[in-house]
Amino acid sequence: MIRILRQIFRTGIVTEPLHPDPETEIKEVGIRLEEAVRKRFRRSLTIRQVDAGSCNGCELEIHAMNNPIYNCERFGIHFTASPRFADMLLVTGPVTRNMEVALRRTYDATPLPKLVVAVGDCGCNGGIFGESYASLGGVDKVIPVDVYIPGCPPSPAALLNGILKAIS
């Protein structure tokens, strides 16, 4: 136990200061995001992530949003297991033929009002997989999309930016 505590104190809070990558405008995005979540979602924006056929690259970055460095929970963003609690669906693509029905059902199970954010180049337009017998292309081919976040995969900062765009 003493080792665990020691490691925790040694590590400290890594979330602040935001890491020095000049490209990352997390700080600025975060403040605006927190404000929007507070105002419009009573401090809690609940997201259900759906992988509708991605290569798992986008999932890694969505995971990274939850790591202690980006720590998206501090802005009031929370990932839920059930679409029934969700305010927003974060969908990665391309939507495969075999996932189409499951995606539609997830969408239908999400209560109104709901937001849909398409993540990654493939989620936006099918990306390198395009449209074929197995891939239907972008998420908007199957369910209505509010905001698109391009990138292969989009960085955690881009993801937070996209979510901010969707709720403001």
Binding site: T11, F79, M99, I128, S132, Y133
Partner: protein, 526 residues
């Protein structure tokens, strides 16, 4: 060493014809009569070989019918056995009785290429869902892949268990976390799992068919997106298969840089996995600590190589980025501080009795079963199988044993703990390899131009990604285009291992077992 080749020659004699269009030279390919396809498997089994892959090709472009292929591995030797299948009589003898994992490959061949495996005990479609038209065989050349398919009515028969107190739990395809989709169906009595049936194919994007419409150069981009977490290893495997066909010799620096990327990918994924496994045993501390270490690596990747996962930085003919002295110094310092933190966390993992209680003796895949199921990679090494392409099928710098002595951990307990411990050891190994690479990195070019391969040749490559052995087999068509690109992610073999490992465990331990395997859905479904 050519044990398998000799075994085939002595068993088949004149009936087996060796083929010189298969590259690289170390991988032999022989043509046997269709009726003897499973006899060859028997010979291979007797020689202690393991099945590495089985696939089919449509060779109508060459004026032939189909080709059916099986690939065996023993030590450092790979042998491909091929049989011709006439287009008007598409069947081949099933290998499932000799090698268990063949049944997944064969169901896939039947579903996507429309060639019937005769004698397969389970002929249900795989990846092809019940609502696909029955005559839709997308890997056939006659199939128009650009058009969407109509949905038909159909049903999938599940394996059922009945009796007092038996109940069923369906899970997925949309899982509870941020993960890929797949369906699992448990039959349980009380808390004990008596059967687990996987159903995959939800993320089938038609990758293998897509390769056939791309140029050789564009193919590398697609290979980097077969499984996003293994982008480096997949691009290396694709590039090496292509390079073997064109006979180009890479500059050493390019190869060493590839190894550097490969090891960085391995560390990053292992760190994430170890944390996630502990998190599934309700020890979130490790997840946050390790995901911090992982994130720091990704940030360095972005700064030095321009991409957090080093995607698209490996191309046929070499790599697209280089490293300078300052970059080397940065990685060296990063490795040092990473290892320091990592070792502290390993001690905490090792000394935590409540964690130990969850991970030890959970989800055991015995060495016998592991052999029978021909699993690869970390799963194999945790179950006593000493398999690692970096040792048995190395590319530089791994083949320079005097400079990089590779020490691959092999454990025999086959439980969740063993799979964690193999990862822990591999992180240490990879840190050591990275330091060596930085020390001895040869000077020179980072890439050379790659020519088009000649028509009608095939190339093979096996690369040890962080999950395990990745195999690419490429075939050029009559116009030197991509006629077939076979991708075998380690997940194609290891998913079956999970089905076995879960048996007899309690339902709440499934997430733990699953995470300790952490197989790719996308790499399997293709």
């Amino acid at each position: 060493m050519s044990m398998l080749r000799d075994a085939i020659i002595s068993a088949f004699g004149e009936r087996a014809r060796f083929d010189s269009s298969q590259h690289p030279a170390g991988v032999s390919s022989c043509l046997v009569p269709r009726d003897s396809f499973s006899e060859a498997a028997k010979v291979m089994k007797k020689s202690y070989a393991l099945l590495a892959a089985e696939w089919a090709t449509d060779e109508t472009a060459f004026g032939r019918g189909f080709g059916i292929f099986s690939c065996y591995r023993w030590g450092s030797e790979y042998l491909i056995v091929r049989a011709d299948v006439p287009a008007d009589d598409p069947w081949f003898p099933s290998l499932t009785k000799r090698f268990v994992p063949a049944y997944r490959f064969e169901r896939q061949i039947q579903s996507l290429m429309g060639i019937t495996p005769v004698g397969i005990p389970d002929a249900r479609p795989w990846i092809k869902f019940e609502d696909w038209p029955i005559d839709a065989w997308p890997l056939r050349k006659s199939f128009d892949a650009s058009k969407p398919m109509p949905r038909i009515k159909g049903e999938y028969t599940w394996i059922r268990a009945e009796g007092e107190g038996v109940y069923e739990i369906p899970v997925g395809p949309v899982h509870a976390g941020i993960i890929e989709p797949g369906h699992f169906r448990f039959q349980a009595v009380g808390e004990d799992v008596i059967n687990l049936e996987e159903r995959l194919g939800y993320v089938h994007k038609g990758i293998e068919k897509r390769f056939e419409t791309l140029s050789w150069r564009e193919g590398a981009r697609l290979a980097g997106r077969v499984s996003g977490d293994t982008t480096v290893a997949h691009s290396i495997a694709y590039s090496m298969a292509l390079e073997s066909m064109t006979g180009c010799r890479l500059p050493e620096r390019a190869q060493w840089l590839r190894a550097l990327f490969l090891e960085r990918e391995r560390i990053a994924n292992h760190l994430g996995d170890i944390g996630a496994i502990c998190n599934d045993a309700a020890f979130a501390f490790m997840l946050y600590q390790l995901s911090r270490l992982k994130e720091l690596m990704l940030v360095t990747n972005r700064r030095l190589f321009g991409h957090r996962f080093i995607m698209d930085r490996v191309k046929p003919g070499g790599v697209t980025v280089d490293i300078d002295a300052a970059g080397k110094e940065e990685i060296r310092a990063e490795m040092e501080s990473l290892l320091k933190d990592f070792e502290r966390l390993v001690t905490i993992y090792d000394e935590n009795p409540s964690l130990e209680d969850r991970v030890r003796d959970t989800g055991i895949l015995s060495p016998e079963k592991a052999r029978e199921l021909c699993v690869v990679g970390i799963v194999a090494r945790a179950s006593g199988l000493n398999l690692d392409c970096r040792i048995f099928n190395p590319f530089p710098p791994y083949d320079q044993h005097d400079r990089i002595e590779l020490d691959v951990p092999v454990l025999i307990s086959g439980d969740v703990h063993a799979r964690v411990w193999v990862r822990i050891q591999e992180v240490r190994e990879s840190v050591r390899i990275i330091r060596k690479i930085l020390e001895d990195l040869p000077e020179g070019e980072t890439s050379i131009p790659v020519e088009q391969p000649s028509p009608g040749v095939s190339g093979f490559a096996a690369v040890e990604g962080w999950r395990g052995e990745i195999i690419y087999w490429l075939q050029s068509g009559p116009q030197a285009e991509i006629n077939r690109c076979m991708v075998r992610d380690p997940s194609s073999l290891n998913w079956i291992g999970l089905e076995r490992a879960v048996l007899g465990n309690i339902v709440p331990d499934f997430p733990l077992c699953n995470k300790s395997f952490n197989q790719s859905y996308s790499g399997h479904d293709l």
